[in-house]
Symmetry: C2
Subunit: 199 residues, 2 copies
């Protein structure tokens, strides 16, 4: 437990993860791989990035004698923000991570409007904002900068992102063990490209 920041172990998807066919990283979920990557970055003092706890609406709590408060009725809530944020080289980092078993397209249905709005607000404040999109079957993980996503979504008919669009407009993350998903390497490229656009 000690190495896991509170609330960082995936709780809800464990059962479904176990029953799916495992490709790579010994069947770890995207969340687990990102948490381990963030741990790697943190212990090496490269960045401080955490997954936020899943928000829970607590309805009823029992206080048994001589033991910890026990929540006996609660419900999962929708997060109002993205799942991950933190600081890297002085930059504010903010991203959402999604995985699909689809082979050619990334469905946008599970990217709710309020998360897009949160990303827009963070980008306006000068944050480095992006999506991490994992194609489970191909073992490919893309980092899509929010600016590219926003352009793409300017056409309201778009319900998914093709892998070809991502190959052209997103950064492909290097996968390995140290770290599992080296997305900060792609953030470096993103920073370089946005700095050269500005100058």
């Amino acid at each position: 437990m000690l190495n896991y920041p509170a609330g960082h172990r995936p709780i809800r998807n464990t059962a479904s993860e176990r029953t799916t066919v495992n490709y790579g990283s010994r069947g770890m979920s995207l969340e687990e791989r990102l948490n381990l990557s963030n741990e790697y970055y943190m212990t090496r003092q490269i960045a401080v990035i955490h997954k936020k706890p899943t928000p829970v609406q607590v309805v009823k709590v029992d206080y048994p004698k001589r033991s910890a408060a026990r929540i006996v009725e609660a419900y999962y809530r929708h997060a109002s923000t993205t799942d991950y944020n933190g600081v890297y080289k002085g930059y504010y980092i903010d991203f959402e991570a999604k995985e699909t078993t689809n082979k050619t397209r990334f469905p946008l249905a599970n990217l709710p409007q309020h998360q897009i709005e949160h990303m827009r607000q963070c980008a306006q404040q000068g944050g480095v904002v992006f999506l991490i999109l994992s194609f489970k079957v191909h073992q490919i993980v893309f980092l899509l900068p929010f600016s590219k996503l926003e352009n793409y979504l300017a056409n309201p008919n778009r319900k998914s992102i093709s892998i070809h669009f991502l190959e052209e407009h997103a950064y492909q993350c290097q996968l390995g063990l140290f770290p599992h998903i080296d997305y900060l390497k792609e953030v470096d490229k993103l920073l370089l490209s946005s700095n050269s656009e500005r100058s």
Copy 2:
């Protein structure tokens, strides 16, 4: 509900808040006042700062037919990070907020070591890191930069911070209604002073 980001309404302290004597802001807790301040900053596109959800360790979930998953056994966990973070003018903002009913000193017992460590890591990455300390009885709210806290804690015998130390080394936040606690005004001063120290 709509205006409240998920998990932002205080759940645990409501009963105790109601029984304490109320000074100012109609008895709102520090957390409520900060959440409203953050909402103010967000709607005016000044900053995007959120309180993180309280981490909960879920043990057992029921899935009733035709209704939402219901958590029937869960426990509160200690947060591994601070409670608040976000982005302001491109800066990564990270802080912890505490309130005391003590009149002369701020006890450090409820500032756990792992939170101090998290703040140190964020500061090393170039984040703007501080404590918000509220003296409930005096209705005074201080913003103590992490660098000052770190110097203070260099002496391991220190178990509390005197209000006199804070008057000298911290910034006093302006209190009002729009926003309730204008801590970003003090962040501006902090940024000015650290930029002039660097040049």
